[in-house]
């Protein structure tokens, strides 16, 4: 599925791992997350220089000519190091949306800036009650005096308050939850009628709620079929998120193994208790099964087509295995696992957030039934 050759990818993955090992330990991560921007502009610039921001974009757009599948090694490493830079938000969501819009001239310019680390667009697709369904759009677009204007609310825009550009889905025909009648618009965050309420999220990332009051906007698509486009984008993002999750899961498993081997109770390492051994085995199963599912999914993955059922299977697994891994990692660490000081809780919270993002089990199980 990858369009990068194996050698190029291995080089890339290696550079990611080395960079993070050198520059991204947990104290550093904590400082970045606590900062005003919620990410490190310096790191971001390095990501750009190292080519990482361009992996899944065409060479014409300044990219490396790969696909989202080529980012999975990076995403996994980002999971291991708990990177808070908005790669998934900017490259995975907004970038993938741009790579698919009709207005290729605008998109191409913006993508080049993105790849260079100069633009950080954010994708605002979610509304209250969306639960993973990008068709549930009640933000309205109307065309007046040669200008499109948007009204309504979006929630949970990843990295929205720090974005240089906003991509917003809005409806100009049909009713909420209808597939037809939605297009994607480009907005200037600084324009009148745009109110962003930014906030940190439990996983150390940032998000924003967006209120649009006759905000001026430029259409990027024109066929009222942006829902299909967004589905593709979200499914690619789920692929990337699952890779990040596998990195987190493996790390939690490893940390829990280490802890149970060294922590003593009743005079013995707690790893000598069979109940905990079986819990570790089940954590291994949850982790390894997710990794195998991700790997196997790639064999049938379509970088530019429909992956509805495959993505749903991934997301359900991410949610369920993620919950189990995270909860058991805390449980086996006991009291110390409940503290902000230990990194384990932060891995747990990132897994939790990935489980909530893009929609919960119920939405995706419904999709599996429909596609099964």
């Amino acid at each position: 599925m990858s369009t990068l050759n194996a050698e190029a990818r291995a080089l890339l993955d290696h550079s990611v791992e080395r960079y993070l090992r050198q520059h991204y330990d947990f104290p550093a991560r904590r400082r970045i997350a606590a900062g005003a921007a919620g990410y490190s502009p310096d790191h971001w610039q390095r990501f750009a220089e190292l080519g990482w921001l361009g992996i899944p974009f065409t060479e014409a757009d300044g990219g490396l000519g790969g696909t989202p599948a080529d980012t999975l090694g990076l995403m996994r490493a980002f999971g291991e190091a708990l990177v808070v830079e908005p790669y998934l938000a900017v490259v995975g969501l907004a970038g993938q949306a741009l790579a698919r819009v009709a207005d290729t001239a605008t998109a191409s310019g913006l993508l080049a800036a993105l790849v260079a680390g100069q633009a950080r667009p954010a994708l605002a697709w979610e509304e209250a009650g969306s639960r993973g369904n990008p068709a549930l759009v009640s933000v309205r677009a109307h065309h007046q005096g040669g200008q499109w204007r948007l009204n309504g609310d979006k929630i949970g825009v990843p990295h929205g308050a720090q974005a240089t550009h906003l991509l917003v889905s809005a409806r100009h025909a049909g009713e909420a939850a209808e597939t037809h009648g939605v297009d994607l618009f480009l907005l200037d965050p600084a324009a009148g009628g745009v109110t962003l309420t930014g906030y940190p999220t439990v996983d150390g990332h940032r998000a924003a709620n967006l209120t649009l009051d006759d905000a001026p906007a430029r259409p990027l698509t024109a066929d009222a079929q942006a829902v299909a486009l967004l589905r593709q984008v979200l499914d690619q993002a789920i692929l990337m998120a699952t890779a990040e999750a596998t990195g987190i899961m493996q790390t939690l498993l490893d940390k829990t193994l280490d802890y149970t081997r060294t922590r003593h109770q009743f005079g013995v390492p707690i790893a000598s208790f069979q109940v905990l051994q079986h819990r570790l085995a089940d954590m291994y199963i949850a982790c390894t099964g997710t990794a195998h599912l991700l790997e196997h999914t790639l064999t049938g993955w379509r970088p530019h087509g429909d992956n509805q059922t495959a993505a749903a299977l991934l997301k359900v697994r991410l949610n369920q295995a993620g919950r189990y891994l995270g909860q058991q990692a805390i449980q086996l660490h006991g009291g110390i696992g409940m503290t902000d000081e230990l990194d384990v809780g932060h891995y747990f919270k990132r897994l939790t957030a990935l489980g909530v993002q893009f929609g919960g089990d119920d939405y995706f199980l419904r999709r599996i039934w429909a596609g099964g």
Partner: protein, 402 residues
Amino acid sequence: MQEQDDPLAGFRAGVRDFIERNADSEIREAGRKMTSFFAPFEPVMRWHRILHRQGWAAPSWPVEHGGTGWSPAQQKAFEEECRAARLPRLLPQGLSMVGPAIMRFGSAAQKRRHLPGIVSGEDFWTQGYSEPGAGSDLASLSCRADRHDDHYRINGSKTWTTYAHHANRMFLLVRTDRGGKPQQGISFFLLDNLDLPGLEIRPIIGLDGLPEQCDVFFDDVRVPLDACLGDEHDGWTVAKYLLEHERGGSSSFAAHFEQELRRLRGLAEISGDGLGGRLADDPVFQHRFATLWAEVAVVDATEAGFAVMEKGSPESGPVSSMIKITAMETLQRITELAVEVAGTPSLALQLQALVVGSEVPPIGPEQALTVMPSYLNNRAATIFGGSSEIQRNIIAKMLLSR
């Protein structure tokens, strides 16, 4: 579990009226903003003192120590009304934990010195059982008190001491004798002052970002000999009594969980289902909700069974462990479902908006504000107070020894 023709209608009306007139908006807000078993400190202690002025702070206590003399049915009705009004639960450390232990084991002087402040809400007690490195293995505790002529000196540390940074008193287990079996040689201490040389309290930030627990360090801290409750070296007896009394108290997990489930249902009623409808109308949500409701019914029934069980009987120990396991696991499932129901708004970290009296508005619906902190905080429910693993060990040991 449902209110029917109630002979206590008049009593209830009186309670409701009192609540109506005395629970101010911050106290009510504290009830709505509870994200753990322990209500926000300032408002709940204020509510405690308001109740005390009415004589209602300790309904289950003997009248001589400040109880109300109410029948069990009245006590239950009172609790139900407080719960229905979503008031914060009074903190249990004094009223349900150390208070009854002092009544049972305390000298006359200890009773006089400690009980009034517990009832009045003037004092707040923190519990010092766990130690860094000891976890579920209490017998291995190493915080020690060495006896010198007219005082003890305490050295060591305690952890997971709830609200110690707010407390002016502390009960704790210390090792007073290092010979014999590990369970022996432990004493139960009452400290009536935490502002002592060598005593340091450091809050621990939890998963939810809030300081609820603390570390407490003792460096040659002098305490008088009468700090010891019950016999010296026999603190286990006190600790065990305290534990059983706490479990057997009138406070009910099930009633609390029902309330939590009603909140969850309310949240589902204002939440979308992803298709333009209400989540509360989604059969899958209803199925999951009803599954939890059924689990709560079992907790409720088990608590009712335990209430009439002779404490210390061969049966009561494992049932007490069973309640701990099932209640805490049910609670965790409730908070887990709540995260799924709340969805994206639950991800916002809102430490400011959670503060009682805060002017910062919540991100998303107010009903979703506490969802994630509750989920995170309650991961501890199966760890603290004897982990689920320890409780299952206890049950198995009893089963296999029969």
